[in-house]
Symmetry: C2
Subunit: 213 residues, 2 copies
């Protein structure tokens, strides 16, 4: 792709564009202008054009954007044309929810393994994947080509597991543990801190209540 760095603000908006474009595609819409899309998505047309132009421009003057083509291009930018093997560490409800989420498979994210330290859970079946003991993690990583580790374990365990992951060549971690992971340069971490999100909601509830008092 390009040499210049693209801001995470832009990247963060791409999945949403993709979602709307997918809907348009399903509705049989062939082309869309930045103006139309902006009304649909409640953002400025200017922002849409700027965002797309980070990647070299997908439109045509006087015509707009071809929905199908734009959808494919954004998919490629997001790496959804590649396969990414992932494992889930932590076979609790959250881990199971993610393992069962079929849409990930559609996007090229392949569920390859699940681990837990609780022996009672070992052997359980989650969408065709057997839960393995955490003791086998190291060996599994060495024998399989895993891109992403999903952490759905408590924060104390997370800190230890990260070392095992990093030592065995994991390059990306999708982290649901409520802690900032300490990883070496070059390892990617995407955090999903659910309670942070809930607190933000709580702030806004409170703040609205106080305003109306």
């Amino acid at each position: 792709m390009e040499t210049k760095e693209i801001s995470q603000a832009v990247i963060g908006r791409l999945p949403r564009y993709l979602r709307y474009l997918g809907d348009l595609k399903d509705d049989g819409v062939e082309r869309v202008s930045s103006q139309e899309l902006s009304e649909l998505m409640n953002v400025t047309a200017s922002q849409i054009r700027q965002d797309f132009n980070n990647f070299g421009g997908f439109g045509q003057q006087g015509y707009g954007y071809n929905v199908e083509y734009l959808y494919e291009e954004i998919s490629k930018i997001l790496g959804l044309d590649h396969r990414h093997n992932f494992i889930i560490i932590g076979a609790g409800n959250l881990g199971r929810a993610l393992g069962n989420y079929l849409n990930f498979e559609r996007r090229g994210f392949i569920f390859k393994g699940m681990f837990d330290k609780n022996p009672k859970l070992v052997g359980d079946d989650v969408r065709g994947v057997k839960v393995m003991s955490i003791d086998g993690l190291e060996e599994f990583l060495q024998e399989n080509d895993i891109d992403i580790a999903v952490l759905t374990i408590p924060k104390t365990s997370a800190v230890d597991i990260v070392n095992v992951l990093v030592d065995n060549g994991i390059r990306a971690i999708w982290n649901f543990a409520h802690v900032d992971l300490n990883v070496p340069e070059g390892i990617l971490v995407e955090n999903v801190h659910l309670s942070d999100s809930l607190m933000k909601l709580s702030y806004n509830i409170n703040c609205k209540e106080q305003r109306s008092e």
Copy 2:
């Protein structure tokens, strides 16, 4: 609180401050300077001071910030000193994961009910809460004081349920459905789009691979 609007960028950082302050508190640390905190958290000391000063200044020149006091103040700002009753719509793995998450309770978020349209799940027990039929949602909302509805259902159902919620006075929605909800002015929505987050990770994986090729 203050009259001037505080930017969501600042609000978004508060839960992380709270987390670090909680850790410091647990470690028995009494005071912290913006400099120390900045090194711990990997942000600038300037940003920390600016952020806190949005709320009027919690520190003391020459001393720094009292950890305990700062922790309490940020808790209050985030509304964590209030109780918030919530219900979960959707008794799948994700809904169960959230229902079982005890930390929410510690923060004042009280799990009051769970609903599903699948009759097979009705009656299931999730941390002392019985799953109810979605048909009873309206009545339940009228008879109980619910602040937050958590949506862990597919996007098609989500769109319908939102109308029921809004008509029965729900003020805030924590939305895990992969769709932008259409709500009237004044209803708060906090989205957690998990696949968006995964796609962001995917982008960064890809982009790193291409750079190293």
